[in-house]
């Protein structure tokens, strides 16, 4: 994952941001969308094939082989990451990204993730009732999520994560 992270960080350092509908009000950079888009920075063009190989995570799970969308998302004060059912890998850039997933309809996750971290006993108290799986990620961690309603939350501005959605 080193090449992926270093390349994306390098391009992000140019401070050319856009937006992505999956993360309203956040800053984002779309790097790859299969058959439609490759980021125009020469560094991406040079490394993109190797990055796609690196993001072949079939050794972890055979269904996570072919990425079709790669996006970097940076949190802003009012930004949030839409809860949706995805088959994706989430790579944290910076610490303390909170990754949450739920088997119930995705919007059940809204408002619940904060409690997981604000209340240390929440997991023990409510896990059986709410069935929210959560993980606090560290820099470079990559977590696979599939067939669950999922969202990344981070309370501080400027922290980032890479969302790699798989076919």
């Amino acid at each position: 994952m080193n090449l992926t992270i270093s390349t994306i960080k390098s391009i992000a350092s140019r401070n050319v941001w856009s937006s992505d509908w999956t993360a309203p009000f956040c800053d984002s950079i779309l790097f790859y969308k299969e058959n439609f888009y490759n980021h125009s920075h020469p560094e991406w063009r040079i490394n993109s094939e190797k990055i796609l190989q690196e993001l072949d995570l079939s050794h972890k799970n055979p269904q996570f082989k072919t990425p079709f969308k790669i996006t970097l998302i940076r949190f802003t004060q009012n930004g949030f990451h839409q809860v949706m059912t995805r088959k994706a890998a989430y790579v944290s850039i910076g610490d303390n990204i909170a990754l949450g997933a739920i088997k119930r309809p995705a919007d059940f996750l809204y408002g619940e993730l904060d409690k997981v971290f604000a209340t240390p006993s929440w997991t023990a108290d409510f896990w059986n009732k709410k069935q929210i799986w959560s993980e606090k990620m560290k820099e470079g961690d990559a977590h696979l999520v599939g067939n669950l309603g999922v969202s990344c939350v981070y309370p501080q501005e400027n922290n980032m994560f890479i969302e790699v959605v798989y076919k």
Partner: protein
């Protein structure tokens, strides 16, 4: 002109009654000696009988001949510039020494209020300054500067703001308008010094616009004293409440000044070399092939590059719904990223 006066859409056209100047007479009424464009060169076409021009060729038309050209200073007086003939006898214009303005060359840039566009605005400003020694007087036209204006039907947040320029210029002098999604590669004073020959506008011909071609107002030289006869800000301000896109109304008005059968000859518009508004590297006024693709300029030959295809832009504005697509010219996107690094390196 009051808003009341412009209820009829064609009111301005009927009022516009440009009195031919001495220059117009020379330019318009010499059917045997006319200017045209061949590829990237402005050519003097001499249709006079061979015997009539033979002596002149031998005696007068030689290397360094003085002939009027498009790059004259904005004056009604005779103003000549050296031309150079190549081996084929084609006479190419050389830019004249730029006109010096105390206040700077007035440049208006249509822009949004979105922070995601800032990097591109910096690049455009940086390249404009980098390629000229002239003083520039740059004004960004942003929607927030014109509260209440109806932007219904505009392609971008700033599409209709270009029509305020004559008013901002107090209806005097020449001014340049350009969209923010451009990169300058040649001294912008050369563009400013193009002679409008008394016409209100100078624009590049877009051969693919609307299927049949049209002049394109995304990069425009305008004579503010004449342009007011084609639009005023009061009209544009509320135009889109009932109609979509004043831009098309404006282009319709210009079309009325086309010479029948010759859309490129327009009494209201001087046609400008398409290198001044190259759409994503294409020869904007070129002939499309069977796949409806225009021929391309090499990057080094472009004067002013317009990253006009919203999908292709290396940055992606949050207000645009266009899908993202990889630019067809990697040399252009590489150059854009090079400029990003140059601009970022200048920031403290």
């Amino acid at each position: 002109m009051s808003k009341k006066d412009c209820k009829e859409g064609t009111h301005y056209i009927e009022e516009w009654n440009h009195e031919p100047t001495e220059w117009d007479m020379d330019y318009e009424e010499s059917p045997l000696l006319e200017f045209s464009y061949l590829q990237n060169k402005k050519v003097l076409n001499d249709h006079r009988p061979h015997e009539e021009r033979a002596g002149e060729r031998a005696e007068e038309r030689k290397m360094g001949e003085q002939v009027e050209d498009l790059y004259q200073a904005p004056t009604k007086k005779s103003n000549f510039e050296l031309l150079v003939a190549d081996q084929d006898g084609i006479w190419e214009v050389r830019p004249k020494t730029p006109t010096v303005l105390k206040t700077g060359i007035p440049i208006f840039i249509g822009a949004s209020d979105q922070k995601c566009d800032r990097i591109q605005e910096k690049i455009l400003t940086y390249t404009l300054q980098k390629n000229t020694k002239e003083k520039l007087n740059i004004t960004f036209l942003r929607p927030s500067m014109f509260p209440g204006v109806s932007s219904m039907g505009w392609g971008t947040p700033f599409t209709g703001l270009r029509y305020v320029i004559p008013k901002l210029m107090n209806f005097k002098g020449k001014a340049i308008y350009m969209d923010m999604d451009m990169i300058n590669l040649r001294d912008i004073s050369d563009f400013y010094n193009i002679n409008l020959y008394g016409k209100p506008f100078g624009m590049v011909w877009d051969s693919k616009c609307s299927g049949t071609g049209s002049f394109c107002d995304s990069m425009m030289l305008m004579d503010c004293s004449e342009a007011k006869h084609f639009f005023n800000w009061e009209e544009v301000y509320s135009y889109n409440l009932d109609n979509a896109g004043f831009k098309w109304k404006f282009l319709d008005r210009i079309k009325k000044y086309e010479e029948p059968g010759h859309p490129l000859r327009n009494q209201a518009v001087i046609r400008i070399d398409s290198r001044w508004n190259s759409f994503d590297g294409t020869i904007t006024d070129g002939v499309a092939n069977k796949e409806n693709q225009l021929p391309m300029y090499e990057l080094g030959r472009i004067f002013h590059l317009h990253l006009t295809a919203l999908s292709y832009q290396p940055w992606h504005s949050s207000y645009l719904m266009a899908a993202k697509a990889t630019h067809m010219r990697s040399d252009i996107s590489d150059y854009w990223w090079q400029l990003v690094d140059e601009v970022n390196s200048l920031e403290i």
